[in-house]
């Protein structure tokens, strides 16, 4: 009697398509991912219907739940210039290493005098540090200087970016390269704290402010 011969098939499955797909996805996510730089404070932002995305060249002031004020600026080149100006004004010395570290730092909230020590700290220690935020009272208004010099530095770097875009042959809108002033406020922070910061901006004639919000659906 003839026996039915089963086709001899290998017990291992061909994994190639799956691996292909897995690597494709890995590549996609690797390239598409934008990492959040670790901020020294957690801020829970309010929501709004606005769908404007955050502009490129920003000067960012964060106000946390307790009303502490943190400063940040997006452009690394501008940050160098900013720190130089601030160091000159407050007579605080920075080493070359500290300056280059500063250009890649996220928000910071300490006085100018504490800043060199703050830069030397590892990122994890910064989070746990008990700072009082950047002082902005009338006798010691350091935030005003940060914003003032930040504006100048951001204007300069915006100009260079604009010239570069022009050389490339695009027809860029100069307004896109101007620094935008952004506030990131915590839901629970008292508005008085925000008002103090806003008054600093208004004193410098910077009246067009942006609030960072998370998106919510617009009502129909």
């Amino acid at each position: 009697m003839p026996k039915i011969k089963m086709p001899k098939s290998s017990p291992s499955i061909d994994m190639t398509p799956m691996v292909d797909l897995a690597f494709l996805l890995v590549t996609f996510f690797m390239l598409a991912a934008s990492f959040r730089s670790s901020e020294p404070v957690e801020v829970d932002v309010p929501s709004s219907i606005s769908d404007k995305i955050i502009p490129e060249n920003v000067v960012l002031v964060t106000i946390d739940r307790g009303g502490r004020v943190f400063f940040n600026m997006s452009d690394p080149e501008g940050r160098r210039e900013l720190l130089m100006n601030m160091a000159g004004k407050y007579k605080v010395g920075f080493s070359e290493e500290q300056i280059s570290k500063f250009t890649f730092m996220s928000s910071f909230g300490c006085t100018m005098q504490e800043l060199p020590a703050y830069i030397d700290m590892p990122a994890e220690a910064r989070k746990n540090l008990n700072t009082k935020g950047i002082p902005l009272d009338s006798t010691n208004n350091q935030l005003r200087d940060w914003v003032y010099f930040g504006n100048i530095a951001a204007l300069n770097s915006g100009k260079t970016a604009f010239e570069e875009a022009k050389l490339k042959g695009d027809s860029p809108d100069p307004n896109d390269f101007k620094p935008k002033f952004t506030l990131r406020v915590d839901n629970k922070a008292l508005y008085v704290h925000a008002q103090n910061v806003i008054n600093v901006f208004r004193d410098l004639d910077l009246n067009n402010l942006n609030f960072i919000t998370s998106m919510e659906m617009a009502p129909l």
């Binding site: 994994m15 309010p46 955050i54 402010l209």
Partner: protein
């Protein structure tokens, strides 16, 4: 997969030394493991939604000009914010010491729900909202260009008939209250939003109400 057809066919050469037959398949399991590990990592850590911003233009600081604190226009509304509470009055402010034709200003209370402040604003700003509806219709019928649409919308918002809003906060209001209100104003297409400092007498009125 990298697989080479193994020497089939051919004659059977006896006595010839044969290379050890080993499978040409590579075990891909560890690589796949790693690939999926990376995949999971990137999926979980990547943030796609860039944060959004809401822009707000503050009135310039008055230098020499004495600010005219009370709006003389009738279609203005002033919101006073306290901790999760929202009060408003229409038109000009009349303190108790100098009452207007209808007596001193009385605060009215509303809330952040769709039936509260949103409805109030939609009613008061009906002029702009109706105008916008008309523009939207024309836009749908492709009778308008984008730039014309925007320009006309701005004209509507700047019209004297359009509602103007002043926002004042007391010392207990949170940023969330403020942003929520500004958001409602944007929903209602209010063109003129002025966050201004609260007057001492207004602060007292709010305190009385909150009690």
């Amino acid at each position: 997969m990298a697989e080479i057809a193994e020497g089939g066919g051919g004659g059977h050469d006896k006595g010839k030394k044969r290379a050890k037959k080993s499978s040409t398949r590579v075990d891909m399991t560890p690589m796949v493991d790693l690939a999926f590990l990376l995949l999971t990592f990137f999926v979980l850590t990547s943030t796609f939604s860039k944060p959004k911003v809401m822009s707000l233009v503050y009135p310039a600081k008055p230098e020499d000009i004495v600010p005219e604190e009370q709006p003389k226009i009738n279609n203005a509304i002033t919101f006073l914010l306290s901790e999760d509470k929202i009060f408003y009055y229409s038109g000009q402010y009349y303190p108790k010491s100098a009452p207007g034709p209808n007596g001193p200003t009385v605060l009215e209370e509303t809330d952040f729900s769709a039936k509260g402040v949103r409805k109030l604003l939609a009613d008061r700003n009906a002029y702009v909202l109706k105008g916008k509806e008309g523009l939207d219709k024309k836009m749908k019928a492709k009778q308008l260009q984008d730039s014309t649409y925007l320009r006309m919308l701005i004209d509507f918002k700047k019209d004297p008939e359009a509602l103007k809003v002043l926002v004042k906060t007391d010392d207990k209001a949170t940023c969330k209250n403020f942003i929520d209100l500004i958001d409602e104003l944007k929903i209602a297409e209010i063109g003129v939003i002025a966050p201004v400092d609260i007057l001492a007498s207004e602060l007292e009125l709010v305190k009385e109400k909150v009690k």
